[in-house]
Symmetry: C2
Subunit: 156 residues, 2 copies
């Protein structure tokens, strides 16, 4: 199977300059806002984005460390598989966050609940649609009952 080449469509701007201060998940800092900047040649593709309350940001973890398929996690010191986790250092390097859409100014979107390092390359935006994406009976696996905590040293 061949390699796939992706070109970023923009850049994510956030208040987070370091991994240490970046929250583990956006829901832990729902009020923190950032700006999603699309390169101007893609701005037309934002038509009607204002109709949605929440959007998916798909991005590239450009500063993640070495990939381990099984490892202790940010919210648990027990080792889990990387595909049973949201850990940033993963084979694809692809990150996924659901943020609240606040407003659009031309090729820039203000969003809330961001958990992404400033300057992260943006790969895609998709609307979060209640009918397609809400699974109220879904579980939480090993995340169940794990409270937020500072990132353990040596993890990211």
């Amino acid at each position: 199977m061949v390699d796939i080449e992706l070109k970023p469509i923009g850049v994510i701007h956030s208040p987070y300059a370091t991994k240490e201060e970046t929250p583990i998940q956006g829901v832990f800092r729902p009020d923190v806002t950032g700006w999603v900047e699309l390169f101007p040649e893609f701005a037309e593709g934002l038509k009607d984005i204002e109709m949605f309350s929440h959007i998916y940001l798909i991005y590239f973890f450009d500063r993640s460390g070495p990939v381990h398929l099984v490892r202790p996690m940010l919210l648990d010191d027990q080792p889990h598989g990387v595909f049973a986790s949201r850990y940033p250092a993963r084979p694809s390097g692809i990150g996924l966050t659901i943020v609240q859409f606040m407003k659009r100014e031309a090729n820039r979107l203000e969003v809330a609940g961001i958990d992404i390092l400033d300057g992260t390359p943006l790969l895609d935006i998709k609307p979060y649609v209640r009918r397609f994406d809400l699974f109220p009976d879904a579980g939480e696996g090993w995340f169940t009952g794990k409270p937020e905590r500072p990132k353990p040293p040596g993890r990211e």
Copy 2:
């Protein structure tokens, strides 16, 4: 900003050999099952995936057509921006589906609610976590009230 090279981590197997028969969203065929096959070198990263009821599949639309930034959609004949849609032909080519986890057999996962063409390259798997991913107040934008329908000719 440089290009990003991605290597697939596996292949998605489904009953859908053509775009015409592939449902527009997985929730329209919640009982249809498929198999997600990880290449053996990544199988270790599935540890504890069985703990989750739902998972995200992130994949590459390897047979999508030409990208139009604004176009009529599968569920609406009005034109919308590609980033305000889940349309397959998009600048990144990245697809996202939430499926129900059924069972694991070594490096293969059986999943339900699949809406992906057979043979699609798999890029990543992440667990769907109720606490992180459930936004019950989210809207539906232009999808509101749009019933399922056959894919209009010339779309995919």
